[in-house]
């Protein structure tokens, strides 16, 4: 019985997204694909893979830089085998890789151990850039109402990975639990990454809606905190 074009297209894509075709160690087994040139399919598979990995690499440049070469090659190969391409979008391919990596790191702790924190930050930054989240101008620090900047992303981390994002030596990365806040300032493409002390984070989470300054028992300390958070862009302040 002749096979439909759709069946052959499915077989072809299964082949082109397989590790065997991409890395050149698999034969062209599918009956539906007989008559196609295996070497040219291998080239096609490799081109498509490189294009996909470019999307992923550009999302996680610091994570890949921090990985050992062998680990990187093994991980990419395992990723290809476990997660064929299902979406054209850069962010979706990055998310697919991130989910795969996190599951792998559950079984096999990453080396260096702060890789997951880097990946989490890089994915959050990519997501923010894509959604166009930008920090509103925070010139006002003395307004009557304020709320948490909803575009800021808060990430609990096990390592202080800010040196990696600041271009400093990786050996400056310190093992400690902390909360990082990520923002992309207005008219900038570069993210700002700040540490937020736990009590401040708890307070910020509560400030989901506009809050009147007058409703709080104003102290000099609180006023200073509001001004500082507004200056960093973690609080939006309005009204005079």
């Amino acid at each position: 019985m002749p096979t439909s074009l759709l069946e052959r297209q499915i077989s072809l894509l299964e082949h082109l997204t397989s590790a065997g075709a991409i890395f050149g160690d698999g034969a062209l087994r599918a009956r539906h694909l007989q008559g196609l040139d295996a070497a040219l399919l291998r080239l096609e598979a490799r081109f498509s893979h490189e294009k996909r990995m470019e999307k992923i690499n550009s999302t996680f440049p610091r994570m890949f830089e921090a990985m050992r070469g062998d680990d990187r090659a093994d991980m990419v190969r395992d990723f290809v085998e476990a997660c064929p391409s299902v979406d054209i979008r850069r962010i979706e391919n990055a998310r697919q890789f991130y989910d795969f990596a996190c599951a792998r790191w559950q079984r096999q702790p990453p080396q260096p151990p702060y890789l997951q924190d880097i990946a989490t930050c890089e994915l959050a930054i990519a997501d923010m850039r894509m959604k166009g989240k930008a920090q509103a101008p925070q010139s006002a620090t003395t307004g009557r109402r304020f709320r948490r900047n909803r575009d800021a992303v808060f990430l609990p981390c096990n390592y202080d990975i800010r040196p990696i994002f600041e271009g400093r030596m990786a050996d400056a990365v310190e093992r400690r639990d902390l909360m990082l806040a990520i923002l992309i300032p207005l008219r900038s493409d570069e993210p700002t990454i700040l540490e937020v002390p736990a009590p401040v984070y708890v307070w910020l989470v509560e400030l989901d809606d506009w809050t009147n300054r007058a409703a709080l028992a104003a102290t000099a300390e609180l006023e200073a905190l509001i001004s500082e958070l507004a200056e960093y862009g973690l609080l939006e302040v309005r009204g005079h």
């Binding site: 759709l6 080239l43 498509s48 054209i88 850039r129 894509m130 166009g132």
Partner: protein
């Protein structure tokens, strides 16, 4: 119809990676080609950067996400999104590749060829009519570059394209680089291909520059459509040939890699303009015009 300084209008494909440079360099271009999928799925930042340019420079609409060749019904919701974007861009036409990129469960995000048979052409014809009914501007099909052939193909590239365009009235977005690569990789005569196209069918043109791929598993080197390097003279020679028999409204340079080589991009635009000017005047030597444009 594109209202701009020259006919054909010359420009580049808009890429968000060089959005700032593009905005600062609009004086060099008559038109920008917008990939509608970037407006749909690359996020608000990219989309607003594109829509901000409406009214500042004419734009054409190009797609990469339709996968018209996948043997399933078209995604009508996607087409409706395309129609809305085309309207917002005020684009005079919408183009897509005669190819497939996905099948249920897989999306290669890479253009793959179709078997060139009458049966497949019939299926594509029906889908082109659907596109034409949903997107209210002329629809153009683009010839892709391809590495492999389906064994049952019994039509040539140009026969397959002509059949679909004739039956649907769709125009052709002729990618001269793809034609150049295919002719080299698959051993046919690119000029014969051009001669076999009905006069006037080419409405838009793409040009780009690729690389030669050498792999130990290939019997011979292959030219790849990497959109990464200056346009080869051989592709510009094909552009000359196109301009003799067709009146495309736009000639768009595609660049997707080594994007920061701005001088190369501008030089390619100048070379394209020089070819057009030389062809139109019939007397000016192309190289003289390149010098004058500087």
């Amino acid at each position: 119809m594109i209202a701009c300084k020259t006919i054909p209008a010359v420009g580049i494909g808009y890429r968000s990676g060089i959005a700032e440079w593009t905005r600062a360099s609009l004086a060099h271009f008559d038109v920008l080609e917008i990939t509608v999928d970037h407006c749909i799925s690359s996020g608000e930042t990219v989309a607003s950067g594109i829509f901000d340019l409406v009214g500042r420079i004419p734009m054409t609409a190009h797609g990469i996400g339709l996968s018209i060749g996948t043997d399933v019904p078209l995604d009508l919701a996607y087409l409706d999104q395309v129609a809305a974007i085309v309207e917002r861009l005020r684009a005079p036409a919408y183009s897509e590749h005669l190819a497939f990129t996905r099948a249920p469960g897989r999306d290669l995000a890479n253009l793959l060829p179709l078997p060139k048979t009458e049966k497949v052409a019939e299926a594509i014809i029906a889908k082109v009519r659907v596109v034409q009914s949903r997107v209210p501007v002329p629809f153009l099909l683009e010839n892709i570059s391809y590495l492999f052939e389906w064994p049952e193909s019994d039509l040539t590239d140009v026969e397959f394209l002509n059949l679909i365009c004739r039956e649907t009235g769709a125009g052709l977005l002729l990618d001269v680089e793809n034609l150049y690569l295919n002719a080299h990789n698959h051993g046919f005569d690119a000029h014969a291909f051009l001669n076999d196209l009905p006069a006037g069918i080419v409405k838009e043109v793409h040009v780009a520059g690729g690389v030669t791929v050498h792999k130990d598993f290939l019997a011979r080197p292959f030219l790849a459509d990497s959109h990464s390097h200056p346009v080869p003279d051989a592709a510009l020679d094909l552009l000359d040939h196109v301009l003799k028999r067709h009146a495309p409204e736009t000639v768009v340079l595609e660049r997707d890699d080594r994007l920061l080589e701005f001088d190369e991009i501008l030089d390619d635009v100048r070379r394209i303009r020089a070819r057009i000017a030389a062809m139109q005047s019939g007397s000016i030597h192309a190289n003289e015009l390149v010098g004058a444009a500087d």
